[in-house]
Amino acid sequence: MSAPLLELAHVTRDFAVPAGRLRAVEDVSFSLAAGETIGVVGESGCGKTTLGRMILRLLAPTAGRISFRGEDITHRTERALKPVRGALQAVFQDPVSSLNPRLRVRDIIGEPLVNRGGPRDARAERIAELLSIVGLPGDAGGRFPHEFSGGQRQRIAIARALSVNPALIVCDEAVSALDLSVQAQILNLLRDLQTRYQLALLFISHNLGAVRHVSHRVAVMYLGRLVELAPESELFSRPLHPYSMALLAAVPEPRLDQVPAPALAGEVPSPLTPPAACHFHPRCPRAEARCRSETPQLRPIVGTGALVRCHFPG
């Protein structure tokens, strides 16, 4: 088995806020192989965006280790990260603010190329190639972002991410701000690119349907912790963690023959004062005394490919 492309070991991130300490991410471990896509799902306060930002090293973890291509990048300075920057790219949520409104599209797409250096005509050629790969017209290069629709802007962002042949692209809610018909286009594009270029993707989203479409494995997060990590086919047909079950049950399907389960009660607790031991126990239909006193660990479940953080999974 070849070395994983990305490896997280017990990654934790705390923030100091006036009200105390906010633990946004706690003890997250997993690895991502080259060409694999892991979808990360969860609701507000689950820490998935913070996780994405740590992987991109826009933030450093408070504890734990992040390795990319076998190298430890946990605490590298910006200068030391330079060789990695091209291989680790991102597509962000907001197509409006993730593109500098003052720059032309070709300068936006070409930025990683400029940073890497190289002759100008090679750059121009590559930019034209990228525009065609993402399905934008050739004359888009000379225009400004505001002249394009949301879906087209995301294509520009994707072109930028692809420009220096990345190994991994972190997509942080990349389709959430888009209209439905456009979401489908972008999701198809991501899947095509994935196959064509053997790209690994970390697809962060609250949209379970979108996650299913692009992911090989899915990680479910709740209040900073990873509660389930399973192959896509297993998670969506046989979720093992009570929260995963509730999450899937809550998604309204565009079908009439559904019998909606009663909605999960309660709200996500504040990350400043998380419940003791298992974070989910106050809302969990099968919580018992053990759940209140002993924090469950992420363990593989025999007979499945899943890892679950629960005392009573399945």
């Binding site: 920057r85 790219q89 603010s97 993730s98 500098n100 720059l103 990683p112 400004f144």
Partner: protein, 293 residues
């Protein structure tokens, strides 16, 4: 929310510059203010051609002459033509104000960007310095500096720059604090863009609008400040004309020969109004439009 969008213009428009220019021309404040500023600049450049007399031609017999066909605005205490001196005085005002604006923008914006982007001790250090300077009343500080360095045009420029850069720094810092949280800055970091290029390509173009507004209003204020310093005798020295020193001279003879003071203050007032109008129009046009982009 976007369901209620008011229809956007069709795609294909180039940089918002030409559209912005059209809107500028439609604003009466911009037109009036712009004309005044333009007139000032032309006058300053063409003063030697426009002035009927050299600014230092003395004619003691014709001292305090009232307006006449030979001297359209009259003559001052040394018989020098007021009109000519006002025209050359425009040069002083323009040179001083442009120099001060240039220096304060370069220094203030750079320090403001460093403070806002890096925060931490860099921010604390720069902002404490800013606070100290801002604690002094503007003119008191300027007077102090000119008194120490000795009056001259260069001194005035230095003094006013020292007084003005903290404001530009503070404004820049608060703009950068907001902009650096925008996703495109994150995207630039992820692309491996070095910090200096982030400053120049990403941050600066997106904070330039409020700075332009501040600069255009600021020029008027700096001209006023220069005139005040000259009024106190701390600015450019004789025989170089400055509107401020001319007004000072004119005030001494106000009761008997009011024309110097009258024309001098009128010209100063019109200039300040012109810059203020232009600044107002730019502010209304630039901030919401470019902020919304």
């Amino acid at each position: 929310m976007s369901d209620i969008t008011i229809p956007l213009p069709a795609a294909g428009t180039s940089a918002s510059l030409s559209r912005f220019g059209q809107r500028l021309l439609r604003d009466p404040r911009a037109c009036v203010g712009g004309l005044i500023v333009l007139a000032l600049v032309l006058v300053a450049i063409l003063a030697p051609l426009l002035a009927p007399y050299p600014f230092d031609e003395v004619d003691l017999l014709g001292a305090w002459a009232p307006p006449s066909p030979e001297h359209w605005m009259g003559a001052d205490k040394l018989g020098r033509d007021i009109l000519s001196r006002l025209l050359f005085g425009a040069r002083t005002s323009l040179i001083v104000s442009l120099s001060v604006v240039a220096i304060t923008l370069v220094v203030g914006v750079t320090l403001g960007m460093l403070a806002g982007y890096f925060e931490g001790w860099i921010d604390t250090g720069i902002m404490r310095l800013v606070d100290i300077i801002l604690a002094f009343p503007d003119m008191v500080f300027a007077i102090l500096v000119t008194a120490i360095l000795g009056p001259s045009m260069a001194t005035v420029i230095v003094a006013l720059s020292l007084v003005w850069w903290p404001g530009a720094a503070r404004l820049t810092r608060s703009l950068v604090l907001v902009q650096k949280n925008e996703l495109y800055v994150d995207a630039a970091i992820v692309c491996g863009t070095p910090v200096w290029r982030i400053f120049l390509r990403h941050l600066l173009p997106n904070i330039v609008a409020p700075l332009i507004v501040r600069a255009s209003v600021g020029i008027g204020l700096i001209i006023m400040a220069e005139a005040s310093l000259s009024l106190l005798g701390l600015g450019v020295q004789e025989p170089q004309p400055s509107w401020g020193s001319m007004i000072r001279d004119g005030l001494e003879a106000l009761r008997t020969d009011p024309y110097l003071a009258l024309f001098g203050s009128t010209v100063l007032a019109i200039t300040i109004i012109g810059f203020n109008l232009l600044g107002d129009a730019l502010r209304d046009l630039l901030d919401p439009r470019l902020g919304g982009r």
